[in-house]
């Protein structure tokens, strides 16, 4: 038997090295520059880089590639602007930007897109100047709007291929284990970033808190998924997480809507032992949680799980023992970080576990009740969470269509008019969530049940609730507001598409003709 001596003098048979097991190599020999052993040696102790630019350089990022970010800091994110500025200064162009969403903290994207640094955008939401840039057709390629579940699906199936993911990490050890639950910039769950880390070709953790020792417990993303660690002075302002879209309301009108929604939920009979529950962002939907909490306490009902988009009130429901588990894909309030860090029943989940329709089971599909906000709805119960009254993009798809499709009862809460403009239309400008997945629309002036759910309408009436025909409600509101002129859209000039959670295209975004 002929053999080869390996690095420590043991003989390995040549017939095995060249045999049926594929290409095998004796221990102690250099495999190749890209071989496994070589990579492990290279990574150890050398993940921490001097600054963002060095991380970008080492990542191999070049023109035409795809980069991603998470939006867990919402309006307080510093990382996306910091990295894009470095990229711009380094002269890299024609990038595809594929963050989990864009917020008010990401206004810089508008300029960078107009200058060709970013030429394609995949996102759940857009606001401010970015929305204006897209709606006025100033970005080279059409934008793709996805849901949170849809994005997880797109990453898993490869329809979004991230070359470099930049992950804001509130605490990270030198090996690259990182978490959102601790540190001065703690933001809670890193659920959206977890899927980026899994699928991106290269992962850069950007942190302001590099731990001396190992990360104690609560690891969101393990070291084996992290290639580099860039240390910066500050990654974000957690106090800005709970502003804007996730502010808890004191507005009496929103509270009336929330109370009406609660009555509908109660009448559905779904708030029962073992129930599961989610509320979306938006003042009225967040307020519903408060009413549900009081009811569950009064009736001594213990549910199976709460899901979200987790707010302080949902965390409170967990500490009240109203749920067995609270699943948290995104913390809507920095106040919940202590809960996620210390309560083992407050479980951080990734976006695939949350809502990926192609996965072997996701939590939204097990939901009993979800309460969701809307910008506009129409008489077919379709929901628009993207377009403002001027037609310009200023919202986010989020988990809207994912949860509506999954939950047994999807309640949409919306004021019947805002600033004199009615919210119930003949047809919404942009369908994000199809009407066939929406069960009830609740306003301050009445609740409308989808004709597909006569069982619900019957249950509501039996509980003494008044059910209003949606067309009748629309007319009643228009008697107050009048009928607005439709927004002028240039239908020959699409500026984007809206992807449904399964990857099919549910609607097209058009250039808004400025009046």
């Amino acid at each position: 038997m002929s053999g080869t001596k390996n690095g420590i003098g043991r003989i390995i048979p040549d017939e095995l090295l060249a045999g049926a097991h594929g290409r095998l190599v004796p221990y102690g020999r250099e495999v190749s520059a890209a071989g496994r052993c070589a990579v492990r040696q290279a990574a150890r102790g050398r993940k921490v880089v001097r600054d963002i630019k060095e991380a970008i350089r080492r990542s191999g990022l070049r023109d035409g590639m795809t980069i991603s970010f998470h939006h867990h800091f919402r309006n307080g994110d510093f990382v996306l602007p910091m990295v894009l500025q470095a990229i711009d200064e380094m002269g890299i162009r024609d990038l595809t930007l594929a963050p989990s969403s864009l917020t008010d903290a990401h206004e810089c994207v508008a300029d960078l897109a107009e200058r060709g640094v970013v030429t394609t955008i995949h996102t759940s939401g857009v606001r401010g100047r970015v929305g204006q840039a897209i709606s006025s057709g100033r970005i080279r390629n059409p934008v793709v709007i996805h849901s949170h579940g849809g994005r997880a699906r797109a990453l898993a199936e490869g329809s979004i291929r991230v070359d470099v993911a930049f992950i804001a990490a509130p605490a990270c050890d030198a090996s690259g284990n990182l978490t959102g639950a601790i540190g001065p910039s703690a933001c809670g769950s890193l659920g959206y970033a977890m899927v980026d880390a899994r699928y991106a070709k290269h992962v850069v953790a950007v942190t302001d808190t590099l731990l001396d020792g190992a990360l104690p417990g609560c690891v969101s993303i393990p070291q084996y998924l992290v290639d580099q660690i860039a240390v910066v002075p500050s990654i974000g302002d957690p106090s800005k997480i709970a502003t804007g879209a996730t502010r808890i309301t004191r507005d009496p009108l929103s509270l009336v809507i929330a109370e009406n929604a609660f009555r509908a939920i109660r009448a559905s009979g779904l708030i029962a032992p073992g129930c599961s529950f989610q509320v979306g962002g938006g003042g009225a939907s967040l307020a519903v949680a408060r009413y549900v909490r009081e009811y569950m306490l009064e009736k001594k009902i213990r549910g199976s799980f709460g899901l979200g988009g987790v707010t302080a009130s949902m965390a409170q429901m967990l500490s009240d023992d109203l749920f067995e588990v609270l699943y948290d894909v995104q913390s809507f309030d920095a106040a919940v970080t202590e809960s996620i860090a210390t309560n083992p029943r407050h479980v951080e989940i990734d976006a695939a576990w949350y809502a990926d329709p192609s996965a072997s089971g996701c939590l939204v599909d097990d939901l009993d009740v979800v309460v969701l906000a809307a910008l506009d709805v129409d008489v077919d119960f379709n929901v628009d969470v993207l377009s403002g009254h001027d037609g310009v993009l200023r919202g986010a798809s989020g988990g809207h269509c994912d949860t509506a499709a999954g939950a047994k009862l999807a309640v949409v809460v919306v004021p019947s008019f805002r600033e004199g403009v009615p919210s119930i239309r003949d047809a919404v400008q942009t369908v994000v969530t199809p009407g066939e997945t929406v069960d009830v629309i609740v306003t301050e002036r009445g609740m409308c049940v989808n004709p597909r759910r006569p069982d619900l309408a019957e249950a509501f009436r039996a509980a003494g609730l008044r059910v209003t025909d949606i067309r009748e409600l629309k007319e009643r509101v228009e008697r107050i507001t009048g009928v607005p002129r439709p927004v002028a859209l240039d239908r020959d000039h699409p500026v984007g598409v809206v992807e449904y959670r399964d990857g099919s295209l549910i609607d097209t975004l058009y250039r808004v003709v400025s009046s």
Binding site: R250, L255, V256, E259, E444
Partner: protein, 278 residues
């Protein structure tokens, strides 16, 4: 707020032209309220308009603008005696006649806001069939007495009790004054509960968030409602059998107890509670 006031949970709404409106905005507010009355659907919510007092230059203009727009009622501030009510009544009658509208379709809720007015509360309440209720304006009343209002409201105890007695004597409703600290739900609840116990028909709210708290105070508890239903049922059966005094749950029931039970059932119905067959 005007366009949404009917959905915020109150049993009635008051659109204000008086103290909530700056002097420079009186005309604009009057126009806005009239327009709202003419165009908005207030659904089942009764609408009252608080006009400026008879001692102001706005009083007549307010009534001329508002009465033809047919609110459910006019809230008349600072009524010092029957003559103030009669003056408003006469003016309203003239406005209605000139506009070809039925007379007395719009009721008056008169506000008692001074010591002098309190002493004439019964005269105010019984001055005209148009008066459907009287109320105490706590802030102005305290100012007239030169005192400060407190959280537990002890300083208004006599005035509130006197208002209820005057209203009952005249057969009209009595409405309690507002609790001004909108952030103090517990204080409001205690104050509203006191109003219930004193016999007020209702209580004014100064913010939509107060409506639910006031409702909670006025809502009888379920045990009380069940007992009231038993009393009313037993009284009816006794009447049918020609029996005088009866006993329910081992206690004697006479006419005042039955009257109280009827009131409990009325409150339960207003609160939307299920009431067992009487």
């Amino acid at each position: 707020m005007v366009q949404h006031c009917m959905v915020l949970g109150a049993d009635g709404v008051i659109l204000d032209l008086e103290d909530a409106v700056a002097l420079s905005e009186k005309d604009a507010a009057r126009f806005l309220v009239r327009h709202a009355l003419e165009t908005l659907d207030f659904m089942e919510t009764p609408v009252f308009v608080r006009v400026n007092g008879a001692d102001t230059p706005f009083f007549e203009d307010d009534l001329r603008a508002i009465v033809p727009a047919r609110p459910d009622g006019i809230r008349l501030p600072k009524t010092d005696g029957a003559e103030d009510v009669l003056r408003a009544d006469a003016l309203m009658r003239r406005i209605e006649r000139e506009a070809g509208l039925p007379e007395e379709g719009v009721v008056i809720q008169a506000m008692v806001e001074t010591a002098r007015s309190l002493l004439h509360a019964y005269d105010v309440a019984s001055a005209s069939p148009r008066v459907s209720g009287i109320s105490i304006g706590g802030q102005d009343f305290a100012a007239d007495l030169g005192i400060r209002r407190t959280r537990d409201g002890g300083e208004l105890l006599y005035a509130r009790a006197a208002i209820v007695a005057a209203a009952k004597a005249a057969g009209v409703d009595a409405f309690d004054t507002v609790f001004t600290d909108v952030n103090d739900c517990e204080g409001l609840y205690a104050d509203a509960l006191a109003a219930v116990n004193m016999g007020f028909s209702g209580k004014a709210a100064i913010h939509p968030s107060q409506a639910a708290v006031i409702h909670r105070a006025f809502r009888p508890d379920e045990k009380e409602v069940r007992k009231a239903a038993r009393i009313v049922r037993a009284a009816r059966e006794a009447e049918e059998r020609g029996v005088g005094v009866i006993a329910v749950d081992g206690r004697m029931v006479d006419a005042p107890v039955v009257a109280q039970a009827l009131r409990t059932i009325e409150l339960a119905r207003i609160a939307g509670m299920e009431v067992p067959a009487e």
